[in-house]
């Protein structure tokens, strides 16, 4: 990476992956699709110097789930890559092979939202207790605790 990276170079370089929208002076938000996310991150790492993943955020939009990957590089520009996943089949490829820190975030999102990250070898429970029933995802907007289901705690005594 010889020349400094600016918002314009990023917009130019990432054009093939999706549309860009500038949010603030050092932030840029790109909308892309799940099939291209892997290549988008590879390009941003190799060509634009984004070497750190800040976090992966999720939002439940009703019809879709939106995933945002926030990356930052040595030029201190934050790029957020946004993808939409359909609610009835939220599957997306994992990026933990490119960014090792993504593994833990993907595990957390899977526990709480039920989004499947295909290719991630370690999809075990991390945030919810071991007695939590498998198909209940508490952070989805339409989830309400069911009084007849045992979610954990002491059997027979949950008041």
């Amino acid at each position: 990476m010889n020349r400094p990276v600016t918002i314009d170079t990023i917009t130019e370089r990432m054009k093939e992956f999706g549309t860009a929208g500038q949010v603030r002076k050092n932030r840029i938000r790109m909308k892309t699709v799940p099939e291209k996310i892997h290549d988008a991150i590879t390009t941003s790492q190799a060509m634009l110097g984004f070497d750190r993943l800040i976090t992966i955020s999720t939002v439940d939009n009703g019809q879709t789930f939106e995933l945002l990957y926030h990356l930052i590089g040595s030029d201190r520009i934050i790029m957020s890559l946004a993808i939409d996943l359909p609610r009835d089949n939220p599957v997306t490829p994992t990026v933990s092979d490119l960014l090792p820190s993504a593994g833990i975030y993907e595990r957390q999102i899977h526990d709480l939202f039920g989004i499947v990250f295909s290719g991630n070898p370690n999809m075990k429970r991390i945030m919810l207790n071991e007695d939590w029933p498998p198909e209940e995802y508490p952070l989805r907007k339409d989830w309400k605790p069911n009084p007849d289901v045992f979610y954990g705690g002491i059997k027979g005594e949950r008041s």
Binding site: S57, V59, L68, S101, I104
Partner: protein, 391 residues
């Protein structure tokens, strides 16, 4: 075999539950690590969607008891930016003073606990006694030693009187003298911290790749610091420097934290002496417009990221909290592979895990197929028994 020195979050023999991960071992060597954070999962993010902005700030404060101001300021800052409201300079300075005092109390706490883990209890007592001066200042300013609740959307809750400012300034010289003693200790008297050397080493490339943040990353030479990268509050006005070190091991992280204590004291002094006049809050609309923001804040343990999305009502649509300790766990997992079980306490403690992810360590022995649960006390005893000459 590298020597290991641990500095973990406040771990006294009294406390039972440190961090939790399953260690799959082959005899004494660790093969794999599995993390389980469910002991402290309280579902704060879901609750935050059901509370309006006034009620959600005390909830977010109590995500963590050591960095409570960090969470509430990160959230308030994000909402103010979505509303496009600028808070008055006096409020910015007051928030900065509280933030840096919190950083000081957190680093002193860590230093004490680190010392306790290597058996150096005198330093434990010293640092926690010095910490009381910071707590007194915070209590005078906000009314509580922890969970200050100073933030409101649009400013701060209460003002600083001249008497409070003078009292705080009066405590700083003594505190500065104590901190300089600790700085001398890390600079010159290495024998005290010799057991921190060479343990849990992270190179600069590894630190970046595993997404480490905070003093853990800065000790490996990575100079990310949100206060300089994305200046917020009064950090652009106050003269201070980002502290980095090149050692990359626990000794380096100790140096970074102790030097940061000095920098924080300087920032507090500057803000107290140059407190601008004016109002402490501005009126804000009840509902926030639709928008989203990634609000980053430099908590004592590293970069805290709140992703907030609003939907035009007086509640948030989503707040996604990524704590710095979560970001640092990957580096711990990577560091621990091929180390000995007895070295776990050191490497874990080096990242200064916030106890809000507390738990126990479960050991699964691959060879004998036995599972056992070990508490941190036992691990520390095991570590000390293997290195008897250093106790």
């Amino acid at each position: 075999m590298p020597e290991v020195v641990v500095s973990i979050g406040p771990h006294h023999p009294a406390l039972k539950e440190p961090v939790n991960f399953k260690v799959i071992a082959d005899g004494e060597k660790i093969v794999r690590l599995e993390l389980d954070l469910s002991y402290n999962h309280r579902g704060v993010e879901k609750a935050a969607e059901q509370r309006d902005f006034i009620r959600v700030l005390p909830l977010l404060e109590r995500v963590c008891g050591i960095c409570s101001h960090s969470h509430s300021t990160a959230f308030a800052k994000g909402i103010e930016e979505i509303m496009q409201v600028g808070i008055p300079p006096r409020a910015q300075y007051i928030r900065t003073i509280i933030a840096e005092l919190e950083r000081m109390h957190s680093h002193l706490l860590w230093l004490g606990v680190a010392a306790h883990l290597i058996g150096f209890n005198t330093l434990f007592m010293w640092t926690w006694r010095d910490r009381e001066a910071v707590q007194d200042t915070l209590e005078e300013m906000s009314g509580n030693r922890v969970h200050y609740n100073m933030n409101e959307i649009g400013g701060v809750r209460c003002d600083l009187t001249p008497a409070q400012v003078n009292a705080a300034l009066g405590r700083l010289p003594n505190l500065e003298e104590r901190i300089n003693k600790y700085v001398d200790m890390v600079n010159y008297e290495e024998t005290m911290l010799i057991r921190f050397r060479g343990v849990g080493r992270l190179s600069k490339e590894e630190a970046l790749r595993y997404g480490t943040v905070g003093p853990t990353a800065r000790a490996s030479g990575v100079d990310y610091d949100v206060r300089k990268d994305d200046p917020y509050l009064a950090y652009a006005d106050a003269p201070w420097n980002v502290v980095t070190d090149t050692h990359g091991d626990v000794y380096g992280r100790t140096r970074v934290r102790v030097w940061e204590l000095q920098e924080s004291l300087g920032i507090v002094r500057f803000c107290l002496e140059n407190l601008p006049e004016g109002p402490i809050r501005v009126p804000v609309p009840k509902n926030a417009p639709k928008g989203e923001i990634l609000s980053r804040y430099e908590a004592p343990r590293g970069e805290l990221a709140h992703f907030i999305r609003t939907n035009g009502t007086d509640k948030v649509e989503r707040v996604d909290i990524r704590t710095p300790t979560l970001a640092n766990w990957t580096s711990v997992a990577m560091c621990l592979v091929n180390q000995n079980i007895a070295d776990i306490p050191v490497i874990v403690a080096a990242i200064d895990p916030c106890l809000s992810c507390t738990s126990r360590i479960t050991l699964l022995d691959n060879r004998t197929k036995k599972a056992g649960v070990m508490s941190f006390d036992e691990l520390i005893r095991r570590y000390r028994s293997r290195h008897p000459e250093e106790v």
